[in-house]
């Protein structure tokens, strides 16, 4: 047996460079791909979908084209051909989901992951290696299938000459769809300890993906620019949107795919009582552990800590709001989008108009409550949606109001009014309301985005629980009281100020 030689300190790297990372990742990929190709359950569908299905699709395309041309509807046949190209590409990549679930949770289930986790490979190397291994075989099959299908169409009886850009778009769509499914599967796998549970959760990937495919199919059939040499514009947007999702899922996957998360989770248990108790504990005690809690301490230390933890989301939110406001203003400068405001309105009439508008929007209910409900409903909706969209929806929904405000501002100027007159109607209550809206948006962004990068030393679950606690705490302590105060000012103070400024 070999004698013990002291290994060199630089043999293993704590933070390897990208070349080393890629080389190590490819070691894992090579092993996994070889392993996948030894599994007939993976190999058989890949072969069938690569070499047989394209011919079937080509046959269907030919038959369909002939059939509809009898009725003078050649366009339907022509547009079925690229649709089938997409389907030929999509079927093999659907296997990537199976391989990804097998590669991640299957290995966890068979306990073959731990020996790998005991090696010097970093989490990122393992993650990249496994992600590539889940993607390569299906993508090879997908590209192969599409090549066979295209070859049979171009050189076959149909002699189809596709728009090159449309083919590029379909290949890109296939690739990003595979990426979404694999990166999504990693996230799903991390939340389960069995393939069965992972397969159930995989419906969260399959269902949206099926809807996207249906949408893409409809676009291919109905898009007015379906024959454009630049490709179909809406498909470019879908590709970009899915790439954004991929980047976010990659970030989540990289956060989740670590040794602590993979081995720390023992059971797939969903304990609502425990979750509620933990949440309440965090909201109430949080940063005040082992201390007597009173409202002052809760505000000063608890709410203060929650505000600080929002961190970079503050900056991002402020920038997006500013961009929305400026964009609204700039849009309003385009003659095509300008409102033709009457230029001879007496300012005193505006007071009456505002009161009428208020009655129209809020009806018979007490105005304070109506304004309050309206505002909290929008912010709560943005927060809930943010959870499912990594915070993106928070940055899309609430700043819309500021886009409109920027637009109105430009219209007032265009109509020749002093823009400062705008201030009393908005800023009187806006002094309270605007910061509250920005805070709620930043908190929603943080809540949605925290899963993509949990706080240092925390797992994704711990990071999300803490942020949810912070969000509830901010809503209870600042946002709801703030919205109530703003609604009160808007009802009782703003009209007085407006009357003072405008008269009436």
């Amino acid at each position: 047996m070999a004698t013990l030689a002291k290994p060199k300190r630089d043999t293993y790297h704590e933070a390897p460079g990208w070349r080393q990372t890629l080389a190590n990742a490819l070691l894992v990929t090579e092993r996994e791909v070889k392993d996948s190709f030894r599994d007939w359950r993976i190999l058989a569908p890949i072969i069938i979908l690569t070499f047989l299905f394209p011919f079937l699709a080509q046959f269907v395309a030919g038959q369909f084209t002939d059939f509809v041309s009898d009725f003078g509807a050649e366009i339907i046949g022509e547009r079925t051909i690229p649709f089938l190209l997409m389907i030929v590409g999509f079927f093999p990549i659907s296997i990537s989901l199976v391989i990804a679930l097998e590669t991640f949770v299957g290995e966890k289930e068979r306990r073959s992951l731990e020996p790998l986790l005991s090696t010097p490979l970093t989490n990122t190397e393992l993650y990249i290696g496994k992600t590539l291994s889940a993607m390569i075989p299906p993508l090879v099959a997908s590209y192969g299938g599409m090549a066979v299908y295209l070859g049979s169409l171009v050189f076959g009886e149909l002699a189809w000459r596709p728009q090159a850009m449309l083919v590029v778009q379909i290949i890109l769509l296939t690739t990003v769809q595979a990426l979404v499914m694999v990166t999504g599967a990693v996230v799903v796998s991390s939340q389960t300890t069995s393939t069965r549970a992972a397969n159930l959760l995989a419906s969260f990937i399959i269902i949206p993906m099926t809807l996207i495919i249906q949408g893409e199919s409809a676009i291919m059939f109905f898009a007015p620019d379906a024959e454009s040499a630049n490709g179909i514009a809406s498909l470019w947007w879908i590709i970009v949107a899915m790439l954004v999702v991929v980047v976010l899922l990659l970030r989540i996957g990289n956060s989740i795919f670590n040794r602590e998360e993979l081995l720390g989770r023992l059971i797939d248990q969903f304990n609502i009582k425990r979750m509620v108790t933990d949440l309440w504990q965090h909201v109430r005690w949080g940063d005040l552990k082992d201390r007597r809690v009173n409202v002052v301490a809760w505000y000063r230390e608890g709410v203060g800590a929650s505000l600080r933890r929002i961190g970079k989301a503050w900056g991002v939110t402020l920038i997006v709001f500013a961009v929305a406001l400026v964009s609204g203003y700039l849009i309003g400068l385009y003659p095509d989008y300008q409102l033709q405001l009457p230029q001879d309105v007496e300012l005193s009439d505006m007071t009456t108009n505002l009161e009428q508008a208020s009655a129209f929007f809020f009806g018979e209910r007490p105005v304070v409550i109506s304004i309050f409900v309206q505002n909290w409903r929008i912010l709560a909706g943005a927060t809930v949606l943010a959870v499912f969209t990594f915070g993106i929806s928070a940055l899309l929904l609430t700043p819309l109001v500021y886009l409109v405000l920027g637009y109105l501002f430009s219209q007032i100027i265009a109509a020749g009014y002093n823009p400062l007159l705008f201030a009393p109607t908005v800023l009187t209550h806006g002094i309270v309301e605007i910061p509250i809206i920005i805070l709620a948006t930043a908190a929603a962004l943080k809540l949605g985005a925290v899963v993509t990068r949990p706080p240092a030393g925390m797992t994704v679950g711990q990071g999300w629980s803490q942020t949810l606690g912070d969000t509830v705490r901010l809503w209870m302590g600042v946002i709801l009281p703030g919205l109530l105060l703003a609604a009160f000012i808007e009802t009782y103070v703003t009209p007085v100020v407006v009357r003072m400024v405008f008269g009436g």
């Binding site: 047996m1 043999t11 392993d35 030894r38 992951l113 731990e114 010097p120 602590e260």
Partner: protein, 315 residues
Amino acid sequence: MIEAHELTKIYDDFLAVDRVSLNVPAGTVLALLGPNGAGKTTSVRMLTSILEPTSGWARVAGYDVVREPAQVRGHVGVLTEQHGLYERMKALEYLDFFGKVYKLDAAERKRRTLSLMERFGLTFAMDKRLGEYSKGMKQKLALVRAMLHNPPVLLLDEPTSAMDPQSARQVRDAIIELLGDERTFLITTHNLTEAEELAHQIAIIRRGRIIASGTFAELARQVVGEPVMELRVAGELNGLAKDLSDMVRVEDSGRDWLRYRVADPQTTNPALIRRVHGLGIDVVTLAPVSQTLEQVYLQIMQEDEAKEGAYGDAR
């Protein structure tokens, strides 16, 4: 080679490992014993830099488990509780993959693989797929994998659990042989005979806490007290127990034997034999009553449970 200070792991509100401290020098085998769920695997995972301790620190093979995880994992060989082999691969392929991961060059990979496969009697199965291996063969191959990169520290979770007696012997011999190279072993096992044979140090863990540690002799002394000797004579005792009562504390006796406790057997036993001879009684045997690790282990566990019960009652 393994140093741990108050290593603690908390999952949410579950205390899995509670302030575990260890010091295992090179050339030493530490057996970590304890019931299922006591925290053995979690401790091993922290020492392998797979799990990060909630508090406390540890250095393995000279590297910090939190700050230098890749170095730690590169310098330890780990046999996990489940062998975790890739069943569609062949043994050579499998070991080649791990050899590459551990940065061994091709010649070294081949040399180490062949030598270890031969050492564990697996040469005949090198080209077989791992799915065709028996349970014991899989366990041995997992051990080969753990030793492939010649690590100075080996953490072995139940190394012989699935093996037949002959294979288990092979593994124990390999461990003893490897110790000569100043390697450090941490073994978790339920096989107390094996632990007794291999371990220089024993630590017993219960509910995440080390409740006893030391050499077997130290633990036995701590639990059972002074060594017990058994004297057998030719014929009957004829009041011998009474005659020896000023020298030793006789604990039990029969027709031709008696047992006594003695603090310093080296001085007391020769004097005792001289006295028995002087009384005209022939000594057949005088030997220590063997205490097994199992007895010591069970006693320690019982005492800890009782202590915990008393503490619980007091509360």
